[in-house]
């Protein structure tokens, strides 16, 4: 379509909605804190090679040193700089959080929306598959899949977490889709000759942005925690530098016994902070999808 441009066009609605959404999140006090913390972590991750004082894998320093001017948080049992590892670890956690969170969100969106839209046997089949994934125990399944795919590095962890983590989201999205499906504009789109995929993804999907965003941040939080758990159990890729592997190595080298405090304390705290920031953002998103949840008091 080459329409003659007459007036400056307003933002496409999806973008405008996003901007509006961001503004709403920002006005939410808790969510704002969350955004700021997340932003800090992102900056840390992106600029890690420049911010970090050393290469995180450089093991040429003394072993298990206490904090000092050279090594603020000391060194690991292998002689690596803890601070540098911590800074670089943000990359993995963010990657896993956004990667696995993103993938599982995409899966749950595709499946949840189709599930909510179709009726009859296909719906029952999807219901069955989703139930299966809900019923199969999560962490054990993750462990089995992780052992099965154990030599693929971080991408495998992302895949494992995504595969095991989408079902709940799909279920939530389904009920929302089913209710949107009953709205007239969906029927109207059908009367406009739209086909099912376009109705699902162009008409219904944008109306669930906040729900999906909420699901995404929830999934990202879960993914970050799951990655740390897997790494800690030694079922991940211990060659990478992530907060999870830091804890794994810390535990492995008796950081508590040697007084390598930072080594055990800092990565856990970082995980908690990052996850908290995502949860705080979700407070704001909850407010978008359910205006009643916006801050305020009930007057009681």
């Amino acid at each position: 379509m080459s329409a003659p441009e007459t007036a400056p066009r307003p933002l496409p609605p999806a973008l405008a909605g996003l901007r509006g959404g961001l503004r709403t999140i920002w006005t939410h006090r808790k969510a704002r804190i969350g955004l700021i913390v997340l932003g800090l972590f992102v900056v840390l991750a992106v600029l890690a090679p420049w911010i970090a004082p050393y290469d995180p894998k450089d093991n040429s320093f003394g072993r298990s040193l206490a904090g000092s001017a050279q090594h603020w948080l000391g060194t690991t049992a292998a002689g690596e700089d803890v601070l540098s590892q911590l800074i670089h670890g943000a990359r993995i956690s963010l990657l896993v959080g956004f990667g696995a969170g993103g993938i599982s969100t995409i899966i749950s969106v595709v499946i949840g929306l189709c599930w909510g839209y179709v009726r009859g046997l296909p719906g029952e089949v999807i219901n069955f598959v989703v139930n299966l994934f809900l019923v199969i125990p999560g962490l054990p399944l993750m462990i089995v899949v992780a052992t099965y795919l154990s030599d693929g590095g971080i991408s495998v962890i992302i895949a494992v977490i995504a595969i095991t983590g989408w079902a709940w989201g799909a279920r939530v999205l389904r009920s929302q889709t089913a209710s949107l499906r009953g709205r007239d504009f969906v029927e109207a789109a059908r009367f406009s000759g739209e086909r099912a995929p376009r109705i699902i993804f162009r008409e219904i999907l944008p109306n669930m942005t906040s729900l999906i965003a909420g699901g995404f941040f929830g999934a990202a939080t879960a993914a970050i925690l799951a990655e740390a758990g897997l790494e800690y159990l030694g079922l991940g890729d211990s060659t990478i530098v992530s907060w999870g592997t830091m804890l794994y190595w810390a535990q492995n080298s008796n950081a508590l016994l040697t007084g390598q405090w930072a080594l055990l304390f800092a990565p856990g705290l970082c995980i908690a902070l990052l996850a908290t920031s995502l949860t705080l953002i979700n407070f704001g998103i909850d407010g978008i999808s359910n205006p009643r949840l916006r801050e305020g008091s009930t007057g009681r």
Binding site: M1, A189, F191, S192, N207, G287, R294
Partner: protein, 607 residues
């Protein structure tokens, strides 16, 4: 500013005693987090005397409910009472603490909420609802509670067996009655009814209003009836407050409102009343075809003529003049190859029946449509009327191929619609289109008008590129949304209800359909917007020659734009014939009841 002036200063009430409720300079503001505050009620003052029946009318969003909540001390954040006083008897309700407020609910003021369907706790039986209230106030001795509850439901014309039911086991009308009975159990001095009948069916609405009127007369409580339907209010209330944009613009006895309306807004509201049974029926901007019109085709019906009396408010600018604009622009909108009247296909419905599987185990199946036959001639307009659940929408769905008939056939020209699937069904959309009931939900809130129309055009026509966009703008012009460029870029929430419905109609027109099915296209719109949309529909039919199946429970609008009518009752056609004739001389008892149920202020206050 006649209205506001008349309400300043205390006013003598019918009984001559001190007013029961006195509202002074009340302002209420909504302050939602992260959004701009809305002042919903602005400097409102009025008094209500003991035993008075006061009406409160105004269009949607004018602040009626907000006012109702404020005076019953139920305003909750984000609402905030910004200023003014509410005196109940001698007490300022702002000075009451939580517990005082709670205890005075008994024998004080009660409120029956809008959307009465949802005001009952879904997991408690009606008996438990009564029990909770009795336990909260202890104004009925435990031994008498059972009998009192039974008596109360009897007062609202229900049997004692409802006490053991859960809300979902009751129909909407029954629930609304239960709500009223619960409010009554508080033995209040003041009862605020917030649109007690809006969500209900015409016949039920009629019955519930009768109950309220009778109760008020018997119990003598003071009543405030909130409604957007001036007819309903005028039928019941002694005095009427007219509200507009948060202010009270007129405050006068009902008879005065009816006969000597002061404010132009009141006049506008009144102008949208007409009796469908009359010989000549017209509303601002639209006039019913003459009853003598010879045949269903009626292309010779007079076009909308002359200025339309009191105009629609300025807020909905493009709506009101739309009919004229469309009429004036008719030749321009007529592109090449546009069909002329009579060139289309005939829709034949023959012995169609639809039954649904029982919704729950052990329940009986539903016979939604039962052996319905009729013919919609090319260019004709037929109304399908009947109360809620009579099968109107189901019939529409079968005609559009969304549902398949259990028995019988539907033909459009020579095509049988029943067996169509997938691709063929999409093809059908080029000839049969639908205008949806609720313009607020029929448009995707995230799609611009341009997108909505463009998609329909791209899917249903062969137009592409600039031609497509041209046609899109043309459609907007056809439905009177000018300047077209400006409207094309808007999102639904930037449009009024009437404008939205025009977009919905434009979308239905995209494929140049030969049959348009309009399922209650104006029932969700304020009166002020209805006439415009109706005029547009009629006008379009006349210009393009498409046929119109108009589904409604509103007989007046059926009278205005259709030639023929079918009255549906429990899935069966009980009466059928030319619209004007059926309305003026109904034969079936059900049709008569439908006509009776139409609120008619004149009946009470004398014409």
């Amino acid at each position: 500013m006649t209205g506001t002036e008349t309400t300043t200063g205390p006013r003598d009430t019918p009984g001559g005693e001190a007013p029961l409720l006195s509202v002074r300079d009340l302002s209420v503001v909504y302050e939602p987090v992260g959004a701009t505050p809305t002042r919903a009620v602005k400097d409102v003052s009025f008094d209500v005397g003991r035993g008075e029946f006061l009406g409160l009318v105004g269009e949607s969003g004018s602040g009626k409910s907000t006012l109702g909540f404020a005076i019953t001390a139920l305003a909750r954040p984000p609402a905030r009472i910004e200023g003014g006083r509410i005196l109940f008897g001698d007490v300022d309700i702002a000075s009451m603490d939580h517990e005082q407020l709670r205890t005075q609910r008994q024998g004080g003021f009660a409120m029956v909420l809008q959307a009465g369907m949802n005001t009952l706790n879904p997991v408690r039986t009606i008996r438990q609802h009564f029990g909770d209230i009795f336990a909260a106030h202890r104004h009925v001795a435990p031994a008498r509670r059972e009998a009192r509850a039974a008596e109360l439901v009897r007062r609202v014309s229900l049997g004692p067996e409802v006490l053991d039911r859960y809300p979902f086991e009751l129909s909407g009308g029954m629930r609304q009655r239960v709500t009223i009975a619960l409010a009554l159990s508080l033995e209040p001095q003041l009862m605020v009814f917030d649109e007690p009948t809006t969500a209900l069916d015409v016949l039920v609405q009629h019955a519930v209003m009768d109950t309220i009127r009778a109760l008020q007369a018997e119990e003598g409580f003071t009543a405030i009836l909130i409604s957007h339907d001036l007819g309903v209010v005028l039928e019941s209330a002694h005095r009427v407050l007219v509200m507009r944009e948060g202010r009270i613009v007129e405050d006068a006895p009902s008879a005065d409102i009816l006969h000597r309306p002061q404010h132009e807004y009141t006049r506008m509201l009144l102008s949208h009343f007409a009796d469908p049974r009359a010989e000549h029926v017209s509303l601002p901007g639209i006039e019913a075809p003459e009853p003598a019109a010879d045949g269903p085709d009626g292309p010779d019906a007079p076009a909308a003529d002359g200025p339309d009396g009191p105009d629609a408010p300025a807020a909905d600018g493009p709506d009101a003049p739309a009919a004229d604009a469309a009429a004036a622009d008719a030749p321009a909108a007529d592109g090449p190859g546009r069909r002329r009247p009579g060139a289309g296909l005939e829709l034949r419905v023959e012995g169609v029946t639809k039954s649904f599987a029982p919704p729950r185990r052990r329940a009986a199946g539903v016979l939604a449509v039962d052996d319905v036959s009729f013919t919609l001639a090319p260019g004709g307009a037929t109304a399908l009327v009947g109360q809620s659940g009579s099968g109107k929408s189901t019939l529409a769905k079968m005609i559009t191929g969304v549902e398949k008939p259990t028995a019988g056939t539907i033909h459009l020209g020579s095509t049988s619609i029943g067996p169509l699937r997938g691709r063929a069904l999409r093809e059908l959309r080029r000839t049969v289109q639908m205008v949806f009931q609720d313009p607020y939900s029929a448009l995707n809130p995230l799609s611009t008008v341009e997108y909505t129309l463009t998609r329909a055009l791209a899917n249903l026509t062969d137009l592409r590129g600039p031609a497509l966009r041209r046609r899109m703008l043309e459609l907007l012009e056809t439905v009177g949304l000018t300047p077209v460029e400006q409207y094309a870029a808007k999102l639904p929430h930037q449009l009024s209800g009437g404008q939205r419905q025009r977009v919905v109609i434009a979308r239905a027109l995209a494929a140049d359909p030969q049959v348009i099915i309009a399922d209650e296209p104006v029932s969700m719109l304020d009166v002020s917007l209805r006439a415009g949309v109706l005029a547009l529909l009629r006008d379009l039919r006349e210009r393009t020659g498409m046929s119109l199946l108009y589904i409604t429970h509103d007989l007046l609008s059926a009278r205005l734009i259709t030639d023929d009518i079918l009255v549906l009752h429990e899935g069966r056609v009980v009466e059928q014939g030319p619209t004007a004739q059926v309305m003026r001389h109904p034969r079936d008892e059900y049709t008569i009841r439908l006509l009776e149920a139409i609120p008619d202020p004149a009946r009470v206050h004398g014409a």
